[in-house]
Structure formats: structure tokens, C-alpha cells
Symmetry: C2
Subunit: 443 residues, 2 copies
């Protein structure tokens, strides 16, 4: 159930293992809606996502339409820039169009004779005992009952499949919202389709209690997202008129206002999206039903890992299918036990990174610390990999990465009081301190 | 929606203020089912509950069928007893039949010309925009749409009204289960209807990782509840045969086995209940809908406060109606802001007390500490009221009680290392310590 990013990718994995798959999707076929539709949103694809895409042979095709972003570019309130590389040399996260990626995966699924796609099929309910789905066809309005043998719930943060599991006994569940919403805005391309900000970067306007970010598109435009409190002094509630919006943006995002000619219209036309974290357990019901992706672990978008975590679910499930053959009860159980702590860690990391992006990246001491960590990483290769790199450029389980990162942070708290400039890193006393700290670091 | 304990009491409060009330209940009228039906379960009524009942003039009527329990009686694995009074002198919690109490409240509601009771009405959904309930009549199977002006969701831990709110944006929600289930068992009355354990007490068989409790009935029997892990060495999963049950009970609850002639049958006939904590926010939707009782804050039963907290909701809502007249938007908003932190504190306290009941009450040092606290309370009246007394015998908001209790616990941790016997309390050095500690205690 669900032909979004995770559902369409999962269908490809299952079909490669010889299974017949039917994919039901509530919405219409996005490929029939013309060039621009749906959530015109960009996502940051990173190593976990790439591995999952390469597992079904679609890496190169996606790479052709992905824009590498090598660093964060921070814009201060005077338009001054500062920079923070994401990793070493050629390491990057990749801006891809959510809609475009989904279409590519659906084209691949459709071309596979083992996969049937059924759009406009709303799931009204799941009978777990009878193993049937109640579906409503959006075109005809007719309802029908669809038997299933094994149901994969890939229907997103508001999953109908999960809603059925939620009514079983002892199902732990939580949905929790940030006090922040988001609004999408647009930076126009230059006259010749050129990018009016650095193309190969993720742009951040960190403002303490709120922030804006921008990711590049292929056509020279950027997708911007304002993350902003619902209530308070600076908030959606406080900006009620076009003049207020204009004045606020000119004050706090002055360098971007000239690049947003449609700002006032967009601000009042585009909806405010909410930011939810969903946790639940168990993810599986016997060997009949399992949840993947946002359906079992929706997270806030601040680490760029929502899609990557969902894609990694497909990688892990595929590995378990390889190991355990047809023993679905074992596969589903191992899958949920292995993935649940990692999904929980990633949910925490995503909230944590919101603070980093909207606040700490504007602090020179924070940026200095990141430079020192980068030097540490170069001096102790294999022994010190930054938390960001572990999450983004490795396949280390999220929970393990988060633990490593917390240990690193403790070390940096002891080290940084001795360091005032980048050059201090090479001072003998600092190097001696580092040496003694590194004795305790085991990876 | 919901004619359980909180719903029926709330209807009486609303009617007293001149409102016309219709109460819809999913189940059949419990009064028509004969003498024994529904959840034959006993609850511990305490001061918050009594105040709410007295507010509608039904205190005396309930008091006639309530059994005061003045102390905990702990049964060890050899059948030896120890004792812990709940409060001072005549302070007690009261064993009442859930079903009996509900019937009494329904009789009162039915006798009130402003209240209409509608049983067998299942809530299939709530249209918040149109302000209508979709109801299904269990007798005829017919569905109909019922408009409402103001909807009070008192439909319990699995509330259908809350399920409608859960689909609104930014609704925070969690349901979390303990790894323990419960099973109800029965201690028979003696031949002449006499009680075969001390009547005016709550009995506990604390066994570390699990426990059994018993509350007295008017007919000489006791309702027992075994709280037991689902899985593990000693667990429901481990007791699969009548012989295993018998052997286990004889080993760990030897004094009670002779009083339970139906043990083996009951153990396999009675279902295992699950233990859920439900948290959510907001509790209100505009001035149209509000949740009360378990619908907004279901808790585990270990502090005996589930019903009392729900009844206190009625007291608080009634006070706000008194203060704010017809301004329902303000009333609902104040209600949820005032009650939410208290409901959260009570949920924590309830889980905390499970540990105390199943484990700490078997520890002589713990019982000594409780005796010392009782002496402190007598020596400093008004300045030291035990956490249990604040929760059970006062109307101090739960959150405040919990904070006070945590401060007291810190003081006791400093004091107890100096105290080996009850008599040590009067030693000059201990009294000096107490005097200095009490300087910092402000209530």
C-alpha cells in the first residue's frame, strides 16, 4: 500500500526476488499530471539512499538529474556568507526532485512484468484477521475488498495500514509535532537559467529561533523552505499582511528578497506544513503485514534522512530476504528489531540537527569546532569520523553513529577551551591533549 | 459520548448548570444486565473522587456501599504479614464496585429531566467541521447522523471522539503499553459471608518483578488482580497448564491458594488485560469538543487514581463554568491548560507506584522510611504531607504533589543513613538534622 518513494523502490526489490507485487496508491498516477505537480520539493539524497537505488540498478539514471551540494553556505542578516564543507573533497549530498525521483521509480516498476500499479485506490481499512484491504476507487467511487497474502505498508506518515495495527492490543504509538511549521518559497533562475546563488551548495539563513534553507534545481531556480514558529514574536501568526511579510524578509533575509519577486503572493498562497515525528512498535503483524519508511518512522526533515532512512529499510529487508529465504515471520521480526533502535536514533538526530542548523551554524566557535573536528578526522583516519559523516556518508547504523557522536562531543568539550584559532590545533600542548583523548576512542 | 463513570457524572454537573444533555453510550444499559455483568472490578475511591461525587449530592449514597481500606497489608512468600497505614487515624481509601457506582450515577442521570440516556449507540466517527456524530444503533444496525452543539468525549481509553481529533493537524498523541498484563481472580467469601482476609485493607503480595493485590467486596469475597509480565521466566507465557499455575501459586502465593478454589478455571477463562498510558494534546477543538477522563489521560491503575482523576476533571470543569459563564472557548482552553500538566504528572506517578507496590513495600528499610515520614508529618503538621497523602487525601494539583514528593525523597535520602530504628527518630543528632532540613521545606 503506497507508491511513493519507498513503496515503488520496495516493489522493485521484491520483484527482483521473484515475487509478484501489486502496488496500490491513493493518489492519481503522478506521471499523468504534466511536468509540475504534487509536492514540488527537493530532497537531499545521500549514501544510504544511493546504496538502495544502486541495489536495483537505478543509481546512474538518478545521478544524471541530481545536483551535488558540497557544503553549507550560511547567509547572515547582512548578506555575509560563511561556509562549512559536508565532508572530505568530493563528498556531497545531492539535491533531487522528489516528484522526479518518484516518476523514475514508477517507470521502472511499470516496466517490470512482476509489478502491477493501481492508482486512485484509497485504503479505507485493513482486516488483519481476514487478510483483506478495503479499497475505494477514486474514479468510480466504488469500494471493493482486496485479499492479500503479505501487505507492505509504505503509505507514509499518515499510514492507513498503521492505523489498522494501532487498533491491535499492545501497539505502542506516538505522533508528536514541533511548534514550528514550514512554508515553501521560490528563488527565481537568472535570465539565462543561471543560478543566482552558489549552485553546488545547501544555503542556510540561520536566525536562532528560525531559519530558511534553499536547495538548487536543474533549471537555475532554488526551492526555499522557511521553518518558522506557529506563534510568538516572530511567527506565522505575527505575519498577517503582505507589507508585514515584505518588511520582515527585508530585515532578516535582505540578500534573498531581490531573488524572490513572487514572495508576497507565494507566502499567502502556499500552505503552512506541519512537522511530525511518528514512532510506533511493533512494525509487523505476524508474517502478514509490515510497515516501512514514514509509515513506521516519520521524522522531521532537518538531517535530510527521511527518504534515506526509508530507502535503507529496503536495503535491510532485502538482506534479510537473502539470509532467511521464505521464512517471513523471522524476516519481519528481525527487520523490526534491527531497524527500530536506528529509526528512534534518527528521529532524535533530526530534531537535534534543527537546533544546529537554525542556531549553532551562525556561531564562529561552532564553525571553529567543526574545522578542528575535520583536522582530527584527517589526523586519525578511521578513528574519527564526524557524526554528520557517519549519518550521511556511511552505512553505520544510526544508533551507533549517534552514540559515537555523543562521545565525540564530550571530547570536544574538553578540547575546545584550549583552542582559540585553527592554528592552535598544531600546538604541542593541544596535540598532547588530543593524543591522550584518542587513546580512549575505539570505533 | 460515553456513559461510563466520568460521562454519567459529567452529565449531572452539566444538567445542574441548566444544560440539556444527551448521553450516547456504545454499550447496552448495564442496569438491564442483571446483578453481575461488565467488568466486575473494584476501584479505590479517594478524596478527589469523593469531592466530585459530593458536588452532585451523591456522596452519602455511595458511602453506604463503599468499604474503607485503612492500610496496606503485605503478604510475604511464607504468608507472614506486614502493615502500612495509608494515612492518619480515620483516613482511608474506599473499595467500590465499578459497575455498582456506574449504575447509581446512571439512575441519578435518568431521574434528571434535563438528561437523556441513549444506549447501544456506537460512535463511528465525528465530523468536526459539520459538528455531527455518526452513530450506529447496535439493536437495529441502523446508522444515523446526529448534530451536536458541544461534544464531551468521555468514551474512555479507546475514545472514538479522540480518534477524530487525532486526524486534525498538530494533534500530539501517544499510547504506550507496559510489558505487564493483568488477570482478575477471586477470593471466595467464608461460609457465613465473612471476609477470609482482613476486611478493611488493601492486600498486596509483592514479589519484586510482579505482584497480586486484593480489594474487599460487600459479600465477603475479594477481587484479586495479578499483575504479571507477558514474557519471561515468571510470566503469562510461562504458565500454560493448570498444573503449572497451581504449582506456581503454591510456591509464591501459598497463603492465598486455599482461598481460591476456582483458581485453575479462572486463570484460563479470564482474559489477560493490557495496561496502557494515553497522552494527548490538545484536549479541546475550538469551543465544540473537549475530552475528559481516560479519553484524554488513561493511566495505569497502580495509584488508584484513574477514576479519581477523571472525576476531578468534572470538578475543575464545573469551577471554570462557574467562573466564565457561557464563554466555552475560554473554559475549554483553560481546562486543558490547567489539567494537562496534572494528568501528565499522575501518569508518571502511576507507573512509579507500580514499582513501589510490587517491590519496595517488601523492603523493611522502605517500611521504616515510611514510618519516619509519618513521624515527620506528625511533628511538622502542614509542612510535611507524604506524597501518597497529597495524591490521595488532598486536592493539591497532581503536578505540585509530584514535585513536593521528589523534594521529600531527596531529604529522606540524606536522613535515612542516620536512622536504623523507629526510636532513632527522637535522637538529638537526628532531630538536629531534621530541624535543619525542615528549614528548606516550604509548602
Amino acid at each position: 500500500m503506497g507508491a511513493g518513494l519507498v513503496g515503488s523502490l520496495l516493489s522493485l526489490y521484491l520483484a527482483r526476488r521473484g515475487h509478484e507485487v501489486t502496488v496500490y496508491e491513493r493518489r492519481a498516477d503522478p506521471r499523468k499530471a504534466g511536468p509540475v505537480e504534487g509536492r514540488s520539493i527537493n530532497l537531499a539524497l545521500s549514501d544510504r539512499g544511493w546504496r538502495a537505488l544502486e541495489g536495483v540498478g537505478v543509481g546512474d539514471e538518478i545521478r544524471r538529474v541530481a545536483i551535488p551540494m558540497y557544503r553549507r553556505v550560511m547567509h547572515d542578516a547582512h548578506g555575509n556568507l560563511s561556509f562549512q564543507p559536508y565532508g572530505q573533497d568530493q563528498q556531497a549530498i545531492y539535491s533531487v526532485s522528489r516528484a522526479g525521483l518518484n516518476r523514475t521509480l514508477l517507470d521502472l516498476a511499470e516496466a517490470n512484468p512482476r509489478i502491477q500499479l493501481r492508482f486512485d485506490q484509497q485504503c479505507l481499512g485493513v482486516d488483519l484477521r481476514e487478510r483483506t484491504l478495503a479499497l475505494r476507487d477514486a474514479g468510480t467511487g466504488e469500494q471493493h475488498t482486496q485479499p492479500f497474502r503479505r501487505l507492505f505498508g509504505t503509505d507514509g506518515a499518515y499510514s492507513a495500514v498503521r492505523a489498522a495495527l494501532q487498533r491491535t492490543d499492545r501497539f505502542n504509538y506516538s505522533q508528536s509535532y514541533l511548534e514550528y511549521g514550514y512554508k515553501e518559497l521560490n528563488i527565481e533562475a537568472g535570465p539565462g537559467g543561471e543560478w543566482r546563488l552558489e549552485k553546488n551548495a545547501l544555503h542556510i539563513w540561520p536566525r536562532g529561533q528560525y531559519m530558511m534553507i534553499a536547495l538548487p534545481n536543474l533549471d537555475g531556480s532554488f526551492n526555499c523552505t522557511l521553518f518558522f514558529p506557529y506563534e510568538g514574536l516572530h511567527s506565522f501568526a505575527a505575519l498577517q499582511t503582505p507589507a508585514q511579510v515584505q518588511a520582515f524578509f527585508e530585515e532578516v533575509f535582505p540578500d534573498v528578497v531581490p531573488l524572490m519577486p513572487e514572495l508576497q503572493q507565494e507566502f499567502f498562497q502556499n500552505p503552512v506544513g506541519s512537522l511530525v515525528t511518528v514512532r510506533c512498535f511493533p512494525w509487523a503483524f505476524d508474517d502478514d503485514v509490515v510497515l516501512l519508511g514514514d509509515a513506521s518512522h516519520a521524522i522531521v526533515p532537518f538531517y535530510g534522512q527521511g527518504m534515506n532512512a526509508g530507502f535503507e529499510d529496503c536495503t535491510v529487508l532485502n538482506e534479510l530476504l537473502e539470509q532467511h529465504g521464505p521464512d517471513w515471520a523471522v524476516i519481519f521480526d528481525q527487520f523490526q528489531r534491527q531497524r527500530k533502535p536506528n529509526a528512534d536514533a534518527m528521529a532524535e538526530l533530526a530534531v537535534y540537527n534543527f537546533e544546529e542548523m537554525r542556531d549553532r551554524v551562525a556561531d564562529p566557535r561552532f564553525l571553529l569546532q567543526k574545522k578542528i573536528e575535520s583536522k582530527l578526522s584527517a589526523q586519525y583516519p578511521g578513528q574519527w569520523l564526524s557524526l554528520y559523516s557517519q549519518v550521511t556518508f556511511s552505512h553505520t547504523p544510526y544508533a551507533e553513529a549517534w552514540q559515537n557522536g555523543q562521545r565525540q562531543e564530550q571530547i570536544m568539550r574538553r578540547l575546545m577551551p584550549h583552542i582559540q584559532t585553527e592554528a592552535d590545533f598544531d600546538r604541542a600542548d593541544v596535540q598532547a591533549l588530543i593524543k591522550s583523548e584518542m587513546l580512549s576512542v575505539e570505533f
